[in-house]
Every structure is written in C-alpha cells, then in structure tokens.
C-alpha cells in the first residue's frame, strides 16, 4: 500500500490512523527509526491530531444540541408521513401516456380542414340553389302522366318541369291570359283604352 501513497505526510497520517497493513506499518517504523526529520513530522502531526480531538470533544460538551427527544420525534413523524405519501403515490395509478406517431397531429389537422371545407361547400350549394315551390295539385308536382317509376317515387328528372309547363304555370299565377292581364292593368290605372293606345282625349 505504501507505494500507492504519494508522500511521507499521507503515509504518516495513515500510520497514525492505524490503517496500514502490518507489513507496511513495520516498514514505516523502520523509516522512523532511521529518519529524525520524519519522527519530528510525526510528532507534530500527532500533536495537531490530539489537539483537534480534545478541542472538539470539549466544544461538543459546551455546545448544546437541540432537544434530542423532540427532534428525534419530529424526524420520526416526518419519515412516517413521507413513507405514507410515497405509498399512496405508488397506489394511485399513473395516467398512461400513449406515444402517438409523429404523423398523427398533421393528419388530424388535415382531416379537420377537409371536414370544414366539405361542410362549407354543402352549405354554399344549398343556399344558392333555386327553390321552386309547386302547389300540391299542379302537374309539375304530380309529374307527367306515366312518368317516373311505376312502383317507386318519381325521380328528380321526372319532377323537372318542361318550358311549356313553366309558362303555363306563370300564366296561372298572374291570373289569366295576356289580354286579360292587360285589361286588368288598364282598369287598375283607370285610363281609357283608346287614350292609352294614343287617341285624342277631347274627341
């Protein structure tokens, strides 16, 4: 072991502490017998060691510690509480964290955008579609004779009115033929038809 120690000071300290193996201890004693300087160094170290031990022992006697019973009880309580806390913590099932792959969030974001776009397209189409309401007994609502599927409900194509049907429908809704409509308009204006056609009002 002596070979591993760097200098005489640490060798002497190990000797003084009685931590050298017997063989090394014997070797140090031979060195001490032969070297007066080493003996003096050992004596100085021994004196410092003794002074420190005696001094610390006296200091410990003078300096009072906290009440041992009180502090020991306090530490005991803290340890018991600590153990209880740890036990309850270990009983509480921890929330398992699911490790999601990296592409999860971009995919979810893309799906949300697509869904929002789809909803917007549907609502846009429905708000701009022309809504024509037909009376229940109109031929358009009933559909052409023999049209549609004989067994099932009429298809969207069957329900679509032809131009002639639309014209008829408009005529009906304005009340009569074109001539009748004109008469009605004149009556509403209370104007003589001849005057209205460019005749002299004084005649």
């Amino acid at each position: 072991m002596l070979e591993s120690l760097e200098n005489n000071e640490v060798i002497l300290l190990m000797y003084l502490a009685d931590e050298l193996p017997p063989v090394d201890r014997q070797e140090v004693e031979q060195m001490l017998a032969a070297d007066g300087g080493l003996r003096r160094a050992l004596e100085a170290l021994q004196a410092a060691h003794s002074a420190l031990h005696v001094g610390l022992a006296r200091l410990d006697q003078v300096e009072s510690l906290s009440n041992q019973a009180t502090l020991t009880r306090r530490i005991g309580r803290a340890m018991r509480q600590h153990s209880l806390d740890r036990a309850s913590k270990s009983r509480t099932p921890e929330r398992t964290k699911v490790a999601l792959p990296w592409w999860t969030y971009p995919t979810a974001a893309a799906a949300a955008i697509f869904l929002a776009f789809t909803i917007w397209v549907i609502s846009f189409n429905s708000s701009h579609r022309a809504v024509v309401t037909y009376p229940p007994n109109s031929p358009v609502a009933i559909g052409p004779a023999g049209g549609g599927s004989p067994s099932g409900p009429p298809s969207a194509t069957d329900l679509r009115p032809t131009p002639a049907q639309l014209a008829q429908e408009l005529e009906n809704s304005f009340g009569g033929s074109t001539t009748e409509r004109e008469d009605n308009q004149m009556a509403a204006l209370q104007v003589d038809p001849q005057a209205a056609q460019g005749g002299d009002l004084n005649e």
């Binding site: 000071e9 190990m14 420190l52 005991g76």
Partner: protein, 192 residues
C-alpha cells in the same frame, strides 16, 4: 440477505445498522426511529460543524428523508463502510446543497469580513465556552470546505480514510492530503 425478525430477546443495540435499515425498508418505523436515535449526535454535530449554522436540525431531517427516498440504491455489499458511510455521504451532499444555496450570501459576508475583521475570531458567533474553544470554532470556520469535510468526517463518523475518500468522492491520496493540511492549518491558527 435474510433479515432476522424483530424479537424482544435480541436488544436493538445488538442489531446491525444494515439489518435495521432493511427493516425500515420493510415498513418497520420503529427501526427507523432506532437508526435516527443511533446517529442523532454524530450526524447533527457533523452537519453543524460543516455548515457552521443552526441549519443542522433541518439538514438532519432532510438527510433522513433522503435516506428513505434513495433506500433502493443502498447495497451493503457494494457500499464500502456500510450504512454509516452511506448515511454520512447523504448528509455531506445535503451540506453541499446548503452551501451552494448560501453561496451568494456567504460571499457577501466574507467580503464584509475582509473590511471589518482583521482575522480574529468572529464576534457574531455564539460565544460559548472558553476563549480557546471559541478560537477552535473560529479556526474550523477558516478551513476550506473540502478540508473541513474530511476532518469532521474522520472525527464524527469514525470512518476509515479509505471510506472517507469514497464518501467525499476523491482518491485516497487527496483525502489524506486534505486531512493533513487541515490539521496543520488548525494547529497553526490555534497557536497564532
């Protein structure tokens, strides 16, 4: 390692620290109380000498709570010096944490001391005992932290230097060198 069951026939003083600690790990709180009682004085004195303050009580409690926290890391077969060395290692770490947290305050205080004090025993320390004891207290406070740790570990834990080197985490030669320097410096300060 088989742990002897707690028996009223075996006085607790005869049971080793390692067995007591194993019982504590198994939930025997009385074993914990016994360990705290066994190391109360040396551990508290050690912490007080290291920190030089009244924080010793708090650090002592923190040390024991840390013992519980790291109980699974203690291996009697691997830990040189057994439970005692492990306990003092935790206490040393707590003292180091304390020093780090107080580092700024300490620097400021030492700066002030340079201005107001001409290297005499600090007047703000608790004055108990004779003048010689006050001088020793002051001399200890003048040691570098690393040297103080080694000397106080040697005195209060009674561990071997080989074990002390492991506790403070340095080579044996370094630990011995620190102890030698500390003792010679203390002698010099006491004689001045």
């Amino acid at each position: 390692m088989p742990v002897p069951a707690a028996s009223p026939l075996i006085p607790s003083e005869n049971i080793t620290d390692e067995v007591m600690f194993q019982r504590l790990q198994d939930g025997d709180t009385a074993a914990g109380d016994e360990l705290v009682r066994r190391y109360y004085q040396p551990l508290l004195r050690y912490l007080q000498r290291l920190t030089g303050s009244q924080a010793g009580d708090e650090l002592l409690q923190q040390t024991w709570l840390s013992v519980l926290d790291h109980a699974d890391k203690f291996d009697p077969a691997l830990s040189g010096g057994g439970f005692k060395a492990w306990l003092f290692r935790i206490a040393t770490n707590k003292a180091n944490d304390f020093w780090r947290s107080r580092g700024r305050e300490k620097s400021a205080r030492e700066g002030l001391r340079l201005v107001t004090d001409d290297a005499s025993p600090a007047s703000d320390q608790r004055l108990e005992g004779s003048e010689e004891q006050q001088k020793l207290r002051w001399a200890i406070s003048q040691l570098p932290e690393s040297q103080r740790q080694v000397v106080m570990l040697r005195y209060y834990s009674e561990l071997k230097f080989v074990e002390i080197a492991k506790v403070v985490g340095c080579p044996l030669n370094t630990a011995l060198g620190r102890a030698h320097k500390a003792m010679m410096k203390l002698k010099q300060l006491m004689e001045s």
